[in-house]
Symmetry: C2
Subunit: 210 residues, 2 copies
């Protein structure tokens, strides 16, 4: 069985990463959305094990120092990290894994997984991003400003990504990411085995018969 | 307007390139299928200007030496070449252009167009390829053998391609190439202008207001 893809989705806070990932998983049951550990307190409506695995800082450091995290990052004062074991297992079972992580984490993954597929989700305009950040409502003005400045800085780090997808409409952005998944499965680098098999078959033919 | 993609589709004779390209053009009217010049005599049912632009060898050499061909190749004793002017014009109008060409031609395009998208169409098995070549019926046994050996040799040249698509069912192969087109339009290298615009917009914000 072919190993599943490792799909990294990043983008500024407020761009709609969560909604796009939900749409992707709804359309495609072969996708596995990796739930991250975080030391951030749950927002209203967030559930442990669904949105995040909520842990305290001591537990997080144990996981990190014990090699249980594929990547980790400190963002806006909170820690986030991806459970390594589950991601490896799912990919081995042929499932495509989505990591919704920030640019710090993406850089760590890029170094470890050459075959990862890196997607950066963009707002249609910066005004639009600001509107979305404001709409969330749960944050203080200082936090909004910090997030917006961070979002803006992140745009300058896009060169480590393979693809940019503009999230104007969620379904369109999801459609483009689905196309990226299908296309990446056709990349020549992922086909070495099939190619080898075809060449071996060819060697077995007695061409003088034809 | 963003320039259209240049999509190169190659694959062994008999793999079904023509049928897949027809399906692609049927699904997507923005695609422009580039009709090649050839010195090969028309097969039954082939029409001048639709399947090929049929020319004699003298005319072909005039076109080639006058710089009117984007690429050219000699395959099984016949010349084939792509009209340069029309391809450039269509891409400028935002249409994605398909070139159905052989590996010789593809290598020439690869050198000239870094942003070309190179797709190699594969048979599911070599037996299957042989069956398809035999079914065509218009060729002599010697020609069938020559084509099969050439097909087999071509498989060893695949490293210049970006994608491999297995043509087991025409509609599935077309679906995968459509995904490749959509994904390639999201490639970070094609997005430099949008990115620049977003960063300029960001510069105009007075962040102290937020």
């Amino acid at each position: 069985m072919q190993e599943g893809l490792l799909l990294i989705i990043s983008g500024p806070a407020g761009v709609g990463k969560g909604s796009v990932c939900q749409a992707l998983c709804r359309h495609n049951p072969n996708l596995y959305y990796s739930v991250s550990f975080t030391t951030r307190p749950p927002r209203p409506g967030e559930r442990d094990g669904v949105n995040y695995l909520f842990v305290d800082e001591q537990k997080f450091m144990e996981l990190r120092d014990g090699g249980s995290l594929l990547e980790w990052a400190k963002v806006h004062g909170n820690y986030y990290g991806t459970p390594a074991h589950l991601v490896a297992q799912m990919r081995k079972e042929g499932r495509d894994v989505i990591l919704e992580i920030d640019t710090q984490g993406a850089r760590q993954i890029r170094r470890k997984f050459e075959d990862g597929v890196f997607v950066f989700l963009l707002p249609p305009t910066m005004q639009d991003l600001l509107r979305r950040i404001n709409k969330r409502g749960a944050d203080t003005p200082e936090e909004i400003k910090r997030r917006f400045v961070a979002a803006y800085r992140e745009l300058e780090e896009m060169e480590i990504y393979d693809y940019l997808v503009v999230n104007e409409k969620i379904e369109e952005a999801a459609f483009n990411i689905e196309a990226i998944i299908a296309a990446e499965k056709c990349r020549i680098g992922r086909y070495r085995d099939v190619l080898k098999q075809l060449l071996e078959e060819g060697d077995e033919f007695d061409l003088s018969l034809y």
